[in-house]
């Protein structure tokens, strides 16, 4: 399959090489293990493969078949047809990292535009070409802040409102360093101020999420002021769609903005590939890991683009590099660039507001069900936390009979924080008022059953 060789080709090629048969090319390999028997099925044609994969896909229940109120870091949004149509261009998706700029200007300019739009959205000065996802972007922010102080400040203050997967990833990345992680067990309802007492002259970074994992939109101004007084950096992790409406972190003093870009037209796809957004103030541009595209000129005087600042990267610095990142999320960043260009200033604002209104309607309706109440008083965007009268797992199991994917069970990740009966509910533009009403009725019914 996918081999163009004819028997005549093979013979001619072997003759040119000077061996008799293909097996002769593998004589330097350990003989006793050569050509192992493989317990793998024979190949199939495209028709059969598609049929089999359709069959596997059909065993999943999709967000088209179920009414989904699941968010928790991955959201069900509409992606306009233009986005996928551009992604399907082979010139984009079958190219690799633009090491040869003369024949990669398409990728380079698209990434440059992605960087520019991320800068506009976040209010930062510079953006890189992306990281793997929101979790690794946060881990790289920790890494960058630590190296910014040349390892002399070991403490990283992590907000308990950061996505639990992100915090876990930070733990994995820093296990063999002298980095101290604090703050994760501060009280959830005390707000960002609860982190202030942890900040000292040994603190490299304070990392928070906006809106936080529970959907809350905090005012971080006091926290950031305290961090800057101690000369520590502040990283704010964002949902970029929320920034269609909310004040950008650049306006309230963030030094680094990380984000999960999935909400910019990227399919749910069972958790990936997504998009790690990473932007910062100008003065940290050389500390940022990952690829960056810069503008320049070609020999003919034309404006063009190249990968720049590459001496920060592993292929030059090897063990002295502060990060090993190599590949970024090129095609996903392209999708986000197309999405942001298409919606533009007005579209993104409209969409963010639409999410806001729907979520607020749902919150109001759910809070009016007996036994349910909103857990927090802070403003929220398109996701909010509800205290339920029964364990969430029990409710969700029953909701499935109504073809409803209930919200995220916070009892799982925050069992010790008093959130056993708390549900995190996301409402996007994909949910109609009727569906919200249906959800409210079903919730009422399964609670009373």
């Amino acid at each position: 399959m996918f081999l163009p060789h004819t028997d005549a080709d093979r013979e001619a090629m072997l003759r040119t090489i000077g061996v008799e048969k293909i097996a002769d090319l593998f004589k330097s390999l350990p003989g006793e293990h050569l050509f192992p028997e493989l317990d793998l099925p024979p190949g199939v044609t495209e028709i059969e493969a598609l049929e089999e994969l359709q069959h596997i896909a059909d065993a999943n229940e999709t967000t088209g078949e179920l009414i989904s109120f699941l968010g928790a870091g991955a959201y069900n949004h509409y992606s306009p047809a233009v986005v996928d149509s551009i992604l399907r261009r082979g010139e984009f998706y079958t190219a690799y990292t633009p090491y040869q700029p003369e024949i990669s200007q398409g990728t380079l300019q698209a990434i440059f535009e992605y960087q520019s739009m991320i800068v506009g959205l976040t209010g930062m000065d510079v953006s890189n070409a992306s990281h793997y996802d929101g979790a690794t972007a946060v881990a790289e922010a920790v890494n960058m802040a630590y190296h910014n102080f040349r390892g002399k400040r070991a403490k990283i203050v992590l907000s308990p409102g950061l996505h639990p997967h992100y915090r876990e990833t930070v733990h994995t990345y820093t296990v063999d360093s002298d980095i101290l992680l604090e703050g994760e067990h501060t009280p959830l309802d005390a707000g960002p101020q609860a982190l202030i007492p942890l900040i000292d002259e040994n603190t490299a970074l304070v990392a928070v999420q906006y809106p936080d994992f529970f959907g809350r939109v905090h005012d971080f101004s006091k926290l950031i002021e305290a961090a800057h007084e101690a000369k520590a950096l502040v990283a704010v992790h964002v949902n970029p769609l929320a920034l269609g409406l909310l004040k950008p972190p650049g306006d309230f003093g963030a030094d680094i903005v990380t984000g999960e870009g999935q909400s910019l037209g990227i399919p749910l796809s069972f958790g990936g590939p997504y998009l790690g957004i990473f932007a910062a103030r100008n003065k940290y541009v050389r500390k940022m890991a990952g690829r960056i595209v810069g503008e320049t000129q070609d020999t003919r005087g034309q404006r063009g683009y190249v990968l720049t600042l590459s001496t920060r990267e592993q292929h030059i610095r090897r063990e002295r590099a502060t990060s090993n990142i190599c590949t970024n999320q090129g095609l996903v960043a392209l999708a986000a660039a197309v999405y942001m260009s298409l919606l533009g200033k007005n579209g993104l604002q409209q969409l963010a507001e639409l999410n806001y209104h729907k979520a607020h309607y749902a919150a109001e309706q759910i809070a009016s069900i007996e036994g349910f109440e909103l857990a927090y008083a802070e403003p929220f965007f398109n996701e909010f936390t509800v205290r339920c009268p029964k364990p969430v797992a029990e409710l969700n199991a029953k909701l499935l009979h109504f073809d409803i994917l209930g919200g995220y069970d916070l009892g799982e990740a925050y069992a010790n924080a008093g959130l056993e009966e708390h549900m995190l509910i996301a409402v996007t533009e994909m949910i109609s008022r009727e569906e919200i009403d249906h959800f409210v009725e079903a919730l009422t019914e399964v609670t009373n059953a």
Binding site: P30, L38, V175
Partner: protein, 489 residues
């Protein structure tokens, strides 16, 4: 003609996508949380489409021409993969759905793990890592965790051959290890004497790319593994070059303890202009408890009437997550589609032909280019891009000249141990005709290097852009369509 940027195409009041008016009452939005301005472009749909279509036309991809970029395995990316990944049952499922609603997805992950285990000989696989370098970091963290769990805290030394990719030392350094570089011998193998001298009780392990970045299978592989194992160290295999050995030699059989795969190289998932990739990690039974979760597993075998029940589980002593959710599922679907179509024998044939194609080009170029390690190569080989009688010509000039013939250059200046390196990896999906055109062009360029060196030094000539000024880019640092207003210093 350079393409304007999206900001230059923007006009106030335009919009390319619209959303319905709210069907719910409008809620109050506190002014205090709202932004004042949103500096994004305003463009009509048709102009967005034309802009990005025109940009795409400035790219060279596997779909537009030969792409022999060494160590990257730029094979043909089957179109069917792009269909299967977009099936609603794969594209539109949430990573946190109850497992009974995503049995197909977890089942697919399970099957993919099984295929990778069978191809590599390992006992367990985690699909979590997002790319090759991410898989490397994962692998090194696993090795660290293994030694730590045995209270063997003094093992902090990682051996890395001088031919290794830069991510190897960078990943090790990120995991807090001390790097010792090993020289290569005259045949491109790891220098055994240097290796043995470093095998002591501080050894954490060795990172081997095999076949190496020289495209050579290490002739002492077994001895290297034995030597490291005897000293209590572990062998990490960089699977970047797995495309040479599918169904031919299994890393675990040869002594590797842990290895990362690159689904975007070996298993034909597209490179996407630099990602997303996928870098699953395979390990021996001894290391399996340390893998990052979640891993797909069968938790109920089922029966004749009932299918098995799949779930996502976390290994007992897991190093923890290396990213959110379950890995790059979209890439897994593509890779699985490819593997299913080829089957076991097809995958073996793919590797055989990848090696055949590389050796064919090597044979055709041998008389014209210096091949510093001239023996039967694997799926790629390294030539030197310079001649004594053409002193002004560098590998870079040859590369740029290749573009004039519609061919993507080989990898330049890597591995570092070969001067003016041109690393050539044709992959198995290229026909003899394509290889012949490439070889003929390389020979023609070698002639030009003598007769008209300036033609190479000023290349490319037939591309939409000439050479770009990297020094200007690095000195002036314009990283955004507009300059930040409050530029801080």
């Amino acid at each position: 003609m350079p393409e304007p940027t999206v900001f230059e195409l923007s006009s106030p009041g335009r919009q390319g996508a619209y959303f319905p008016e709210p069907d719910v009452p409008r809620a109050d939005i506190p002014k205090s949380i709202m932004r004042d301005d949103l500096p994004l472009p305003e463009i009509a749909e048709v102009d967005v489409v034309r802009h990005f279509t025109r940009l795409s036309q400035l790219n060279h991809g596997v779909d537009t021409g030969f792409y022999p970029l060494g160590s990257c395995t730029m094979k043909y990316n089957p179109k069917i993969n792009e269909e299967t990944v977009r099936l609603a049952g794969f594209a539109n499922i949430h990573p946190l759905q109850p497992i009974e609603t995503v049995q197909g997805a977890i089942g697919l992950m399970y099957e993919l793990q099984e295929w990778l285990k069978e191809l590599s000989g390992f006992d367990e696989v985690s699909l979590q890592p997002a790319a090759g370098a991410h898989g490397e970091l994962t692998g090194v963290l696993i090795m660290r965790a293994y030694h730590q769990a045995r209270k063997d805290h003094k093992r902090v030394k990682m051996l890395i051959p001088d031919s290794a990719h830069g991510t190897n030392p960078a990943s090790s350094a990120m995991s807090g290890l001390k790097i010792v570089q090993l020289p290569s011998d005259a045949r491109g193998n790891i220098d055994m004497e240097a290796l043995c001298a470093e095998c002591d009780d501080t050894l954490a392990g060795i990172m081997i790319t095999n076949p190496s970045t020289l495209g050579l299978f290490d002739e002492h592989l077994q001895e290297v593994c034995d030597c490291v194992h005897e000293a209590g160290g572990l062998v990490y295999g960089d699977g970047a070059n797995f495309n040479a050995i599918m169904g031919i030699s299994r890393p675990a059989d040869c002594g590797a303890d842990v290895l990362h795969f690159n689904l975007h190289k070996t298993f034909a998932t597209p490179h996407g202009g630099g990602g997303p990739g996928s870098g699953p990690v395979g390990v021996t039974a001894e290391l399996a408890p340390f893998l990052p979760g979640p891993i797909a597993a069968v938790i109920d075998e089922g029966s004749e009437e009932e299918p098995p029940l799949y779930s996502l589980v976390n290994p007992k002593k897991s190093i923890g997550r290396v990213k959110a959710f379950h890995g790059h599922f979209g890439i897994m679907v593509r890779a699985f589609t490819y593997m299913m179509m080829l089957g076991g024998e097809g995958l073996r044939a793919a590797s055989e032909h990848a090696v055949l194609n590389a050796n064919y080009i090597q044979a055709r170029l041998r008389d014209t280019y210096t091949i510093p390690y001239d023996r039967i190569c694997m799926h790629e080989f390294v030539a030197e891009g310079h001649w004594e009688d053409a002193p002004g010509i560098h590998a870079l000039d040859i590369s740029k000249r290749l573009m004039d013939f519609g061919i993507h250059p080989p990898t330049n200046y890597f591995p570092l141990i070969v001067p003016e390196a041109l690393m050539i990896e044709p992959t198995e999906t290229e026909s003899k005709e394509t290889l012949d055109v490439f070889a003929d062009t390389m020979i023609k360029i070698a002639e030009e290097a003598l007769t008209n060196p300036e033609l190479l030094q000023t290349a490319p000539h037939n591309t939409p852009f000439g050479r770009l000024d990297e020094v200007k880019a690095a000195r002036e640092l314009v990283l955004c369509c507009w300059l930040p207003e409050n530029k801080e210093e």
